[in-house]
Amino acid sequence: MNMLEVRNATKTFGSLVAVNGVSLSVAAGELRAIIGPNGAGKTTFFNLITGFFPPTSGAILVEGQDITRLSAQERVKLGMARTFQITEIFPELTVHENVRIAVEVGSGFALRPWIGRDAAATVRRATEETLGLCGLESKAGRSVGELSHGDQRAAEIAMALALKPRLLLLDEPTAGMGEQETYQIAGLIRRLHKQSNYTIVLIEHDMRVVFNLADRITVLDQGALLADGTPQQISENPAVQAAYLGTAE
Protein backbone atom coordinates (compact mmCIF):
# COMPACT_ATOMS: atom_id res chain seq x y z
CA MET A 1 0.00 0.00 0.00
CA ASN A 2 1.27 3.42 -0.89
CA MET A 3 1.81 6.05 1.77
CA LEU A 4 0.20 8.69 -0.40
CA GLU A 5 -1.97 8.27 -3.41
CA VAL A 6 -3.55 11.04 -5.44
CA ARG A 7 -6.08 10.03 -8.06
CA ASN A 8 -6.94 12.39 -10.85
CA ALA A 9 -6.94 15.52 -8.64
CA THR A 10 -8.34 18.65 -10.27
CA LYS A 11 -8.69 22.12 -8.81
CA THR A 12 -10.30 25.01 -10.58
CA PHE A 13 -10.67 28.61 -9.46
CA GLY A 14 -13.47 30.03 -11.55
CA SER A 15 -12.37 29.47 -15.11
CA LEU A 16 -8.74 28.91 -14.17
CA VAL A 17 -7.67 25.26 -13.98
CA ALA A 18 -4.81 25.24 -11.49
CA VAL A 19 -4.39 21.47 -11.22
CA ASN A 20 -5.66 19.27 -13.97
CA GLY A 21 -6.21 15.55 -13.33
CA VAL A 22 -2.90 14.83 -11.62
CA SER A 23 -2.29 11.36 -10.16
CA LEU A 24 0.61 10.39 -7.97
CA SER A 25 1.72 7.51 -5.76
CA VAL A 26 4.38 7.79 -3.11
CA ALA A 27 5.65 4.64 -1.42
CA ALA A 28 6.46 4.50 2.26
CA GLY A 29 9.98 5.68 2.96
CA GLU A 30 10.30 7.36 -0.41
CA LEU A 31 11.59 10.88 -1.02
CA ARG A 32 9.64 12.40 -3.84
CA ALA A 33 10.40 15.73 -5.42
CA ILE A 34 7.83 17.72 -7.34
CA ILE A 35 9.26 20.12 -9.86
CA GLY A 36 7.93 22.30 -12.61
CA PRO A 37 8.18 25.82 -13.92
CA ASN A 38 6.56 28.74 -12.12
CA GLY A 39 2.80 28.56 -12.27
CA ALA A 40 2.85 24.82 -12.90
CA GLY A 41 0.43 24.30 -10.00
CA LYS A 42 2.91 22.72 -7.57
CA THR A 43 1.81 24.62 -4.47
CA THR A 44 -1.87 24.24 -5.36
CA PHE A 45 -1.26 20.51 -5.66
CA PHE A 46 0.41 20.55 -2.24
CA ASN A 47 -2.55 22.43 -0.82
CA LEU A 48 -4.89 19.75 -2.13
CA ILE A 49 -2.86 17.03 -0.47
CA THR A 50 -2.68 18.82 2.88
CA GLY A 51 -6.30 19.97 2.97
CA PHE A 52 -5.75 23.69 2.58
CA PHE A 53 -8.74 23.52 0.29
CA PRO A 54 -10.68 20.57 -1.14
CA PRO A 55 -10.14 19.42 -4.74
CA THR A 56 -12.79 20.16 -7.33
CA SER A 57 -12.66 16.51 -8.29
CA GLY A 58 -10.46 13.48 -7.71
CA ALA A 59 -9.42 11.63 -4.56
CA ILE A 60 -6.58 11.69 -2.08
CA LEU A 61 -5.65 8.64 -0.02
CA VAL A 62 -3.18 8.16 2.79
CA GLU A 63 -2.24 4.55 3.45
CA GLY A 64 -5.34 3.49 1.56
CA GLN A 65 -7.72 5.70 3.55
CA ASP A 66 -9.68 8.26 1.57
CA ILE A 67 -9.00 11.68 3.11
CA THR A 68 -10.38 13.83 0.30
CA ARG A 69 -13.02 15.49 2.47
CA LEU A 70 -11.07 15.68 5.70
CA SER A 71 -10.02 19.01 7.16
CA ALA A 72 -6.40 20.00 7.52
CA GLN A 73 -6.44 19.25 11.25
CA GLU A 74 -7.80 15.78 10.66
CA ARG A 75 -5.11 15.09 8.09
CA VAL A 76 -2.49 16.14 10.60
CA LYS A 77 -3.91 13.59 13.01
CA LEU A 78 -3.47 10.93 10.32
CA GLY A 79 0.23 11.71 10.24
CA MET A 80 0.63 14.44 7.66
CA ALA A 81 2.81 17.49 8.34
CA ARG A 82 3.86 20.28 6.06
CA THR A 83 5.94 23.41 5.75
CA PHE A 84 5.15 26.43 3.61
CA GLN A 85 6.92 28.25 0.81
CA ILE A 86 6.90 31.36 2.97
CA THR A 87 7.96 30.25 6.44
CA GLU A 88 5.05 29.92 8.84
CA ILE A 89 6.24 30.00 12.44
CA PHE A 90 5.30 31.64 15.75
CA PRO A 91 7.63 34.62 15.46
CA GLU A 92 7.36 36.08 18.97
CA LEU A 93 8.06 32.77 20.69
CA THR A 94 11.40 31.09 21.25
CA VAL A 95 12.53 28.20 19.11
CA HIS A 96 12.01 25.89 22.06
CA GLU A 97 8.46 27.13 22.58
CA ASN A 98 7.67 26.77 18.89
CA VAL A 99 8.74 23.17 18.92
CA ARG A 100 7.24 22.41 22.30
CA ILE A 101 3.80 23.56 21.12
CA ALA A 102 4.10 21.27 18.12
CA VAL A 103 5.15 18.36 20.36
CA GLU A 104 2.25 18.96 22.73
CA VAL A 105 -0.30 19.25 19.97
CA GLY A 106 1.17 16.16 18.32
CA SER A 107 0.81 14.29 21.61
CA GLY A 108 -2.89 15.18 21.75
CA PHE A 109 -2.54 17.74 24.55
CA ALA A 110 -4.05 20.66 22.64
CA LEU A 111 -7.05 20.91 24.95
CA ARG A 112 -5.30 19.94 28.18
CA PRO A 113 -5.43 22.62 30.86
CA TRP A 114 -2.70 20.74 32.70
CA ILE A 115 -0.29 17.86 32.14
CA GLY A 116 1.30 15.53 34.61
CA ARG A 117 4.95 15.53 35.58
CA ASP A 118 5.70 12.47 33.47
CA ALA A 119 3.98 13.82 30.39
CA ALA A 120 5.78 17.12 30.82
CA ALA A 121 9.09 15.29 30.98
CA THR A 122 8.22 13.34 27.85
CA VAL A 123 7.33 16.56 26.06
CA ARG A 124 10.61 18.14 27.11
CA ARG A 125 12.59 15.14 25.94
CA ALA A 126 10.81 15.04 22.59
CA THR A 127 11.29 18.76 22.12
CA GLU A 128 15.00 18.53 22.80
CA GLU A 129 15.39 15.54 20.53
CA THR A 130 13.67 17.34 17.69
CA LEU A 131 15.76 20.45 18.24
CA GLY A 132 18.85 18.29 18.21
CA LEU A 133 17.81 16.54 15.01
CA CYS A 134 17.45 19.89 13.29
CA GLY A 135 20.62 21.36 14.75
CA LEU A 136 18.81 24.05 16.70
CA GLU A 137 19.90 23.21 20.29
CA SER A 138 22.11 26.24 20.56
CA LYS A 139 19.35 28.59 19.46
CA ALA A 140 16.58 27.10 21.57
CA GLY A 141 16.18 30.13 23.81
CA ARG A 142 16.10 32.71 21.07
CA SER A 143 12.98 34.21 19.68
CA VAL A 144 12.43 32.50 16.35
CA GLY A 145 11.56 35.77 14.63
CA GLU A 146 15.14 36.94 15.17
CA LEU A 147 16.80 33.93 13.56
CA SER A 148 18.36 33.78 10.13
CA HIS A 149 16.21 32.66 7.25
CA GLY A 150 17.82 29.23 7.17
CA ASP A 151 17.33 28.67 10.88
CA GLN A 152 13.69 29.74 10.59
CA ARG A 153 13.22 27.12 7.87
CA ALA A 154 14.90 24.57 10.09
CA ALA A 155 12.61 25.58 12.95
CA GLU A 156 9.57 25.15 10.75
CA ILE A 157 10.76 21.70 9.70
CA ALA A 158 11.40 20.91 13.37
CA MET A 159 7.80 21.85 14.16
CA ALA A 160 6.56 19.59 11.41
CA LEU A 161 8.78 16.78 12.68
CA ALA A 162 7.58 17.31 16.23
CA LEU A 163 4.18 16.04 15.09
CA LYS A 164 5.86 12.67 14.44
CA PRO A 165 4.42 12.55 10.96
CA ARG A 166 4.48 9.55 8.69
CA LEU A 167 4.33 11.83 5.69
CA LEU A 168 6.29 15.05 5.54
CA LEU A 169 5.54 17.64 2.87
CA LEU A 170 8.06 20.43 2.35
CA ASP A 171 7.22 23.35 0.08
CA GLU A 172 10.48 24.74 -1.34
CA PRO A 173 12.57 24.23 1.80
CA THR A 174 15.57 26.03 0.30
CA ALA A 175 13.71 28.97 -1.24
CA GLY A 176 15.56 32.23 -0.86
CA MET A 177 18.62 30.65 0.73
CA GLY A 178 22.28 31.18 0.19
CA GLU A 179 24.76 28.45 -0.67
CA GLN A 180 25.64 27.61 2.90
CA GLU A 181 22.07 27.52 4.13
CA THR A 182 20.89 25.41 1.22
CA TYR A 183 23.62 22.93 1.96
CA GLN A 184 22.61 22.87 5.60
CA ILE A 185 18.90 22.25 4.88
CA ALA A 186 19.66 19.66 2.21
CA GLY A 187 21.78 17.84 4.77
CA LEU A 188 18.90 17.93 7.24
CA ILE A 189 16.48 16.50 4.70
CA ARG A 190 18.92 13.77 3.77
CA ARG A 191 19.33 12.81 7.44
CA LEU A 192 15.56 12.70 7.89
CA HIS A 193 15.21 10.51 4.85
CA LYS A 194 18.15 8.16 5.24
CA GLN A 195 18.50 7.92 9.01
CA SER A 196 14.96 8.48 10.27
CA ASN A 197 13.17 6.91 7.30
CA TYR A 198 10.54 9.63 6.82
CA THR A 199 8.38 9.57 3.74
CA ILE A 200 8.96 13.00 2.24
CA VAL A 201 7.35 14.92 -0.59
CA LEU A 202 9.03 18.17 -1.48
CA ILE A 203 8.63 20.93 -3.98
CA GLU A 204 11.99 22.31 -4.95
CA HIS A 205 13.49 24.70 -7.42
CA ASP A 206 17.13 23.96 -6.83
CA MET A 207 17.90 21.11 -9.25
CA ARG A 208 21.11 20.12 -7.46
CA VAL A 209 19.09 19.51 -4.33
CA VAL A 210 16.40 17.64 -6.24
CA PHE A 211 18.69 15.33 -8.12
CA ASN A 212 20.85 14.75 -5.07
CA LEU A 213 18.04 13.81 -2.72
CA ALA A 214 15.03 12.48 -4.58
CA ASP A 215 14.22 8.82 -5.09
CA ARG A 216 11.68 9.76 -7.70
CA ILE A 217 10.70 13.01 -9.37
CA THR A 218 7.29 14.21 -10.54
CA VAL A 219 7.17 17.01 -13.09
CA LEU A 220 4.13 19.27 -13.38
CA ASP A 221 3.55 21.71 -16.18
CA GLN A 222 0.56 24.02 -16.56
CA GLY A 223 -1.35 22.12 -13.92
CA ALA A 224 -0.92 18.73 -15.55
CA LEU A 225 1.42 15.80 -14.97
CA LEU A 226 4.25 15.93 -17.46
CA ALA A 227 6.46 13.11 -16.28
CA ASP A 228 7.13 10.84 -13.33
CA GLY A 229 10.24 8.74 -12.74
CA THR A 230 13.68 8.31 -11.24
CA PRO A 231 16.11 11.23 -11.50
CA GLN A 232 17.84 9.32 -14.23
CA GLN A 233 14.63 8.91 -16.24
CA ILE A 234 13.60 12.49 -15.72
CA SER A 235 16.89 13.95 -16.78
CA GLU A 236 16.70 11.90 -19.96
CA ASN A 237 13.06 12.67 -20.71
CA PRO A 238 12.89 14.88 -23.81
CA ALA A 239 9.52 16.35 -22.94
CA VAL A 240 10.84 17.51 -19.59
CA GLN A 241 13.94 18.89 -21.16
CA ALA A 242 11.86 20.78 -23.65
CA ALA A 243 9.32 22.10 -21.25
CA TYR A 244 11.41 22.72 -18.24
CA LEU A 245 15.06 21.92 -17.98
CA GLY A 246 15.88 23.74 -21.14
CA THR A 247 14.32 26.87 -19.90
CA ALA A 248 15.56 26.55 -16.35
CA GLU A 249 17.61 29.34 -14.85
Binding site: T50, A72, Q73, V76, K77, A81, R82, F84, E88, I89, F90, P91, E92, L93, T94, H96, E97, R100, I101, A102, E104, V105, G106, F109, A110, L111, R112, P113, W114, I115, V123, E128, L131, E137, S138, A140, G141, E156, M159, L163
Partner: protein, 327 residues
Protein backbone atom coordinates in the same frame (compact mmCIF):
# COMPACT_ATOMS: atom_id res chain seq x y z
CA UNK B 1 25.54 22.79 23.36
CA UNK B 2 24.19 20.41 25.92
CA UNK B 3 20.65 20.25 27.19
CA UNK B 4 21.60 21.84 30.47
CA UNK B 5 22.39 24.98 28.56
CA UNK B 6 18.90 24.98 27.13
CA UNK B 7 17.58 24.75 30.63
CA UNK B 8 19.59 27.74 31.75
CA UNK B 9 18.64 29.71 28.67
CA UNK B 10 15.02 29.03 29.36
CA UNK B 11 15.24 29.72 33.03
CA UNK B 12 16.84 33.10 32.85
CA UNK B 13 13.65 35.01 32.05
CA UNK B 14 11.49 32.92 34.36
CA UNK B 15 13.68 33.67 37.31
CA UNK B 16 12.46 37.22 37.72
CA UNK B 17 8.92 36.38 36.73
CA UNK B 18 7.68 36.42 40.32
CA UNK B 19 8.77 40.03 40.70
CA UNK B 20 5.97 41.86 38.83
CA UNK B 21 3.41 39.56 40.43
CA UNK B 22 4.84 40.26 43.86
CA UNK B 23 4.72 44.00 43.29
CA UNK B 24 1.13 43.83 42.07
CA UNK B 25 -0.05 41.80 45.04
CA UNK B 26 1.71 43.97 47.60
CA UNK B 27 0.19 47.09 46.06
CA UNK B 28 -3.28 45.57 45.90
CA UNK B 29 -3.23 44.07 49.38
CA UNK B 30 -2.11 47.27 51.01
CA UNK B 31 -4.33 49.59 48.96
CA UNK B 32 -6.80 50.46 51.74
CA UNK B 33 -3.83 51.59 53.87
CA UNK B 34 -2.22 54.06 51.50
CA UNK B 35 -5.11 55.02 49.28
CA UNK B 36 -6.62 57.76 51.48
CA UNK B 37 -3.18 59.35 51.76
CA UNK B 38 -3.07 60.03 48.03
CA UNK B 39 -6.66 61.21 47.75
CA UNK B 40 -8.22 57.95 46.64
CA UNK B 41 -11.12 56.08 48.16
CA UNK B 42 -11.84 52.41 48.62
CA UNK B 43 -14.74 52.26 46.17
CA UNK B 44 -12.38 53.59 43.53
CA UNK B 45 -9.90 50.81 44.29
CA UNK B 46 -12.67 48.23 44.00
CA UNK B 47 -13.69 49.82 40.73
CA UNK B 48 -10.11 49.53 39.45
CA UNK B 49 -10.03 45.84 40.37
CA UNK B 50 -13.32 45.17 38.62
CA UNK B 51 -12.25 46.94 35.44
CA UNK B 52 -8.82 45.34 35.71
CA UNK B 53 -10.44 41.93 35.81
CA UNK B 54 -12.61 42.55 32.77
CA UNK B 55 -9.67 44.05 30.87
CA UNK B 56 -7.55 40.99 31.72
CA UNK B 57 -10.45 38.76 30.70
CA UNK B 58 -10.63 40.54 27.37
CA UNK B 59 -6.89 40.27 27.03
CA UNK B 60 -7.11 36.51 27.44
CA UNK B 61 -8.76 36.72 24.03
CA UNK B 62 -7.11 39.81 22.58
CA UNK B 63 -3.55 39.48 23.82
CA UNK B 64 -3.20 35.73 24.19
CA UNK B 65 -5.37 34.38 21.40
CA UNK B 66 -4.99 37.32 19.04
CA UNK B 67 -8.70 37.78 18.48
CA UNK B 68 -10.33 41.16 18.91
CA UNK B 69 -13.72 41.34 20.56
CA UNK B 70 -15.31 44.75 20.63
CA UNK B 71 -18.39 43.49 22.38
CA UNK B 72 -17.14 42.36 25.75
CA UNK B 73 -19.28 44.84 27.62
CA UNK B 74 -22.19 42.56 26.76
CA UNK B 75 -20.82 39.68 28.82
CA UNK B 76 -19.66 42.02 31.55
CA UNK B 77 -23.14 43.54 31.59
CA UNK B 78 -24.81 40.14 31.64
CA UNK B 79 -22.72 39.41 34.71
CA UNK B 80 -23.97 42.66 36.21
CA UNK B 81 -27.59 41.80 35.53
CA UNK B 82 -27.15 38.14 36.43
CA UNK B 83 -25.94 39.10 39.89
CA UNK B 84 -28.44 41.93 40.28
CA UNK B 85 -31.45 39.90 39.19
CA UNK B 86 -30.42 37.05 41.50
CA UNK B 87 -30.27 39.34 44.50
CA UNK B 88 -33.46 41.09 43.48
CA UNK B 89 -35.65 38.11 42.68
CA UNK B 90 -34.09 34.82 43.75
CA UNK B 91 -31.89 34.84 46.78
CA UNK B 92 -30.10 37.18 49.11
CA UNK B 93 -26.87 35.23 48.92
CA UNK B 94 -23.99 37.31 47.61
CA UNK B 95 -22.07 34.23 46.53
CA UNK B 96 -25.04 32.81 44.63
CA UNK B 97 -25.45 36.17 42.89
CA UNK B 98 -21.81 36.04 41.89
CA UNK B 99 -22.21 32.50 40.59
CA UNK B 100 -25.36 33.26 38.59
CA UNK B 101 -23.80 36.38 37.16
CA UNK B 102 -20.79 34.40 35.97
CA UNK B 103 -23.00 31.68 34.52
CA UNK B 104 -25.31 34.07 32.69
CA UNK B 105 -22.52 35.98 30.98
CA UNK B 106 -20.41 32.89 30.43
CA UNK B 107 -23.11 30.68 28.98
CA UNK B 108 -24.41 33.36 26.65
CA UNK B 109 -20.83 33.98 25.56
CA UNK B 110 -20.36 30.28 24.94
CA UNK B 111 -23.45 30.04 22.77
CA UNK B 112 -22.82 33.21 20.80
CA UNK B 113 -19.13 32.40 20.55
CA UNK B 114 -20.04 29.37 18.46
CA UNK B 115 -21.65 31.73 15.95
CA UNK B 116 -18.94 34.32 16.07
CA UNK B 117 -15.77 32.23 16.22
CA UNK B 118 -15.56 31.57 12.50
CA UNK B 119 -15.19 35.25 11.68
CA UNK B 120 -11.77 36.82 11.51
CA UNK B 121 -10.15 40.14 12.18
CA UNK B 122 -12.19 43.24 11.80
CA UNK B 123 -15.33 41.27 10.90
CA UNK B 124 -15.09 39.36 14.12
CA UNK B 125 -14.98 42.70 15.91
CA UNK B 126 -17.96 44.02 14.01
CA UNK B 127 -20.11 40.98 14.70
CA UNK B 128 -19.16 41.00 18.38
CA UNK B 129 -20.22 44.64 18.67
CA UNK B 130 -23.54 44.03 17.01
CA UNK B 131 -24.31 40.89 18.99
CA UNK B 132 -23.35 42.65 22.19
CA UNK B 133 -25.86 45.40 21.53
CA UNK B 134 -28.70 42.88 21.54
CA UNK B 135 -28.41 42.58 25.28
CA UNK B 136 -28.21 46.29 25.71
CA UNK B 137 -31.58 46.64 24.02
CA UNK B 138 -33.07 43.73 25.92
CA UNK B 139 -32.08 45.31 29.22
CA UNK B 140 -33.22 48.67 27.93
CA UNK B 141 -36.63 47.50 26.74
CA UNK B 142 -37.68 44.88 29.26
CA UNK B 143 -38.98 47.31 31.87
CA UNK B 144 -40.87 44.92 34.06
CA UNK B 145 -37.92 42.60 34.61
CA UNK B 146 -34.70 44.57 34.22
CA UNK B 147 -35.98 48.02 35.12
CA UNK B 148 -35.34 49.20 31.57
CA UNK B 149 -33.54 52.47 31.10
CA UNK B 150 -33.95 53.26 34.81
CA UNK B 151 -31.75 50.37 35.71
CA UNK B 152 -32.26 47.62 38.23
CA UNK B 153 -32.60 48.87 41.78
CA UNK B 154 -33.71 47.41 45.01
CA UNK B 155 -30.99 44.92 45.68
CA UNK B 156 -27.99 45.05 47.88
CA UNK B 157 -25.01 42.81 48.47
CA UNK B 158 -25.37 40.83 51.66
CA UNK B 159 -22.89 39.89 54.38
CA UNK B 160 -21.09 36.61 53.83
CA UNK B 161 -21.96 33.77 56.17
CA UNK B 162 -19.48 31.00 56.78
CA UNK B 163 -21.08 29.02 59.54
CA UNK B 164 -20.83 31.16 62.64
CA UNK B 165 -18.45 33.58 60.91
CA UNK B 166 -20.12 36.62 59.36
CA UNK B 167 -18.12 38.94 57.13
CA UNK B 168 -19.98 42.19 56.69
CA UNK B 169 -19.07 43.16 53.17
CA UNK B 170 -22.40 44.94 52.93
CA UNK B 171 -21.54 47.94 55.05
CA UNK B 172 -17.79 47.78 55.36
CA UNK B 173 -16.21 49.08 52.16
CA UNK B 174 -12.75 47.84 53.05
CA UNK B 175 -13.97 44.31 53.70
CA UNK B 176 -15.81 44.43 50.40
CA UNK B 177 -12.61 45.54 48.71
CA UNK B 178 -10.89 42.45 50.05
CA UNK B 179 -13.79 40.32 48.89
CA UNK B 180 -13.37 41.75 45.38
CA UNK B 181 -9.64 41.20 45.63
CA UNK B 182 -10.18 37.56 46.61
CA UNK B 183 -12.46 36.90 43.64
CA UNK B 184 -10.03 38.80 41.44
CA UNK B 185 -7.15 36.66 42.69
CA UNK B 186 -9.02 33.42 42.00
CA UNK B 187 -9.91 34.53 38.47
CA UNK B 188 -6.43 35.79 37.70
CA UNK B 189 -4.92 32.62 39.14
CA UNK B 190 -7.13 30.50 36.91
CA UNK B 191 -6.20 32.58 33.89
CA UNK B 192 -2.49 32.32 34.61
CA UNK B 193 -2.87 28.59 35.15
CA UNK B 194 -4.66 28.14 31.83
CA UNK B 195 -2.16 30.26 29.97
CA UNK B 196 0.75 28.23 31.32
CA UNK B 197 -0.84 24.96 30.20
CA UNK B 198 -0.54 23.18 26.84
CA UNK B 199 -3.99 24.55 26.04
CA UNK B 200 -2.84 28.08 26.80
CA UNK B 201 0.16 27.61 24.53
CA UNK B 202 -2.07 26.53 21.68
CA UNK B 203 -3.99 29.80 22.13
CA UNK B 204 -0.75 31.70 21.82
CA UNK B 205 0.02 29.61 18.76
CA UNK B 206 -3.28 30.73 17.26
CA UNK B 207 -2.38 34.32 18.06
CA UNK B 208 1.05 34.02 16.49
CA UNK B 209 0.09 32.30 13.27
CA UNK B 210 -3.30 30.81 12.51
CA UNK B 211 -2.10 29.05 9.38
CA UNK B 212 0.75 27.35 11.17
CA UNK B 213 -1.54 26.47 14.06
CA UNK B 214 -4.03 24.89 11.70
CA UNK B 215 -1.35 22.79 10.04
CA UNK B 216 -0.06 21.64 13.38
CA UNK B 217 -3.49 20.10 13.80
CA UNK B 218 -4.99 22.72 16.09
CA UNK B 219 -8.71 23.22 15.43
CA UNK B 220 -8.37 26.98 15.23
CA UNK B 221 -12.07 27.84 15.21
CA UNK B 222 -12.71 25.63 18.20
CA UNK B 223 -9.82 27.12 20.15
CA UNK B 224 -10.99 30.65 19.40
CA UNK B 225 -14.45 29.66 20.53
CA UNK B 226 -13.10 28.16 23.75
CA UNK B 227 -10.95 31.20 24.42
CA UNK B 228 -13.88 33.49 23.73
CA UNK B 229 -16.10 31.52 26.10
CA UNK B 230 -13.53 31.42 28.88
CA UNK B 231 -12.92 35.11 28.48
CA UNK B 232 -16.66 35.71 28.76
CA UNK B 233 -16.89 33.83 32.05
CA UNK B 234 -14.18 36.04 33.54
CA UNK B 235 -15.74 39.18 32.08
CA UNK B 236 -19.04 38.13 33.63
CA UNK B 237 -17.31 37.60 36.96
CA UNK B 238 -16.09 41.18 36.79
CA UNK B 239 -19.60 42.29 35.91
CA UNK B 240 -21.11 40.44 38.86
CA UNK B 241 -18.61 42.15 41.18
CA UNK B 242 -19.55 45.47 39.61
CA UNK B 243 -23.21 44.89 40.43
CA UNK B 244 -22.24 44.12 44.01
CA UNK B 245 -20.03 47.21 44.15
CA UNK B 246 -22.77 49.60 43.05
CA UNK B 247 -25.83 47.70 44.30
CA UNK B 248 -27.22 48.69 40.97
CA UNK B 249 -27.37 47.53 37.37
CA UNK B 250 -27.97 49.66 34.31
CA UNK B 251 -28.01 49.13 30.56
CA UNK B 252 -24.90 51.21 29.91
CA UNK B 253 -22.88 48.40 31.46
CA UNK B 254 -23.86 46.44 28.33
CA UNK B 255 -23.18 49.17 25.82
CA UNK B 256 -20.49 49.02 23.15
CA UNK B 257 -18.91 52.23 24.37
CA UNK B 258 -17.89 50.32 27.50
CA UNK B 259 -16.45 47.63 25.23
CA UNK B 260 -14.27 50.28 23.66
CA UNK B 261 -13.08 51.39 27.08
CA UNK B 262 -12.22 47.83 28.04
CA UNK B 263 -10.17 47.42 24.88
CA UNK B 264 -8.29 50.67 25.44
CA UNK B 265 -7.48 49.57 29.01
CA UNK B 266 -5.94 46.38 27.70
CA UNK B 267 -4.03 48.11 24.93
CA UNK B 268 -2.91 51.03 27.07
CA UNK B 269 -1.54 48.70 29.71
CA UNK B 270 0.08 46.42 27.18
CA UNK B 271 -1.74 43.50 25.61
CA UNK B 272 1.28 41.28 25.38
CA UNK B 273 1.85 41.41 29.09
CA UNK B 274 -0.16 39.52 31.68
CA UNK B 275 -0.50 42.43 34.10
CA UNK B 276 -0.71 45.15 31.47
CA UNK B 277 -4.51 45.38 31.34
CA UNK B 278 -4.68 45.83 35.11
CA UNK B 279 -2.27 48.74 34.89
CA UNK B 280 -4.24 50.12 31.95
CA UNK B 281 -7.49 49.80 33.88
CA UNK B 282 -6.01 51.58 36.89
CA UNK B 283 -4.75 54.46 34.78
CA UNK B 284 -8.00 54.72 32.82
CA UNK B 285 -10.39 54.52 35.76
CA UNK B 286 -8.43 57.00 37.85
CA UNK B 287 -7.97 59.42 34.95
CA UNK B 288 -11.64 59.24 34.08
CA UNK B 289 -12.58 59.74 37.70
CA UNK B 290 -10.53 62.92 37.95
CA UNK B 291 -10.96 64.34 34.48
CA UNK B 292 -14.73 64.03 34.50
CA UNK B 293 -14.78 66.13 37.66
CA UNK B 294 -12.47 68.73 36.25
CA UNK B 295 -13.78 69.59 32.84
CA UNK B 296 -16.97 69.52 30.89
CA UNK B 297 -14.88 68.38 27.94
CA UNK B 298 -13.93 65.08 29.53
CA UNK B 299 -14.95 63.27 26.36
CA UNK B 300 -12.24 65.02 24.39
CA UNK B 301 -9.67 64.07 27.00
CA UNK B 302 -10.68 60.42 26.88
CA UNK B 303 -10.78 60.53 23.09
CA UNK B 304 -7.36 62.11 22.99
CA UNK B 305 -6.09 59.38 25.29
CA UNK B 306 -7.30 56.78 22.77
CA UNK B 307 -5.58 58.58 19.92
CA UNK B 308 -2.32 59.10 21.81
CA UNK B 309 -2.14 55.49 22.91
CA UNK B 310 -2.75 54.23 19.39
CA UNK B 311 -0.31 56.63 17.75
CA UNK B 312 2.49 56.68 20.25
CA UNK B 313 2.20 53.80 22.73
CA UNK B 314 0.78 50.92 20.74
CA UNK B 315 2.69 48.47 22.91
CA UNK B 316 1.17 49.91 26.04
CA UNK B 317 2.75 51.07 29.27
CA UNK B 318 4.14 47.71 30.29
CA UNK B 319 5.09 46.97 26.70
CA UNK B 320 7.31 50.04 26.71
CA UNK B 321 8.85 49.05 30.03
CA UNK B 322 9.46 45.50 28.87
CA UNK B 323 11.19 46.68 25.76
CA UNK B 324 13.41 49.00 27.78
CA UNK B 325 14.16 46.23 30.23
CA UNK B 326 15.27 43.69 27.68
CA UNK B 327 18.56 44.11 25.88
Amino acid sequence: MSTTTIETVLKAPTERRWLPAAIVWVVLLSAPLWLPLVGGYTALASHVLVMGLVAMALNFLLGFTGVMSFGHAAYFGLGVYGAGLTLRYISNSTLLALLFGILLGGLVGTVLGALIARRRGVYFAMVTIAFGQIFYYIAYSWNSFTGGYDGLRGFSRQPLHFGPLVIDIQNNGTLFYYFVLAVFAICIGLMAFLLASPFGRTLIAVRENQRRARFLGIAVDRHIWLSFSISCYFAAAAGALYALLNNFADPMSLHYSLSGEIVIMAVMGGMRSFWGPLVGAAVFVILQDYISSMTENWMSCIGLLFVLVVMFFPRGLLGVLQRRGSP
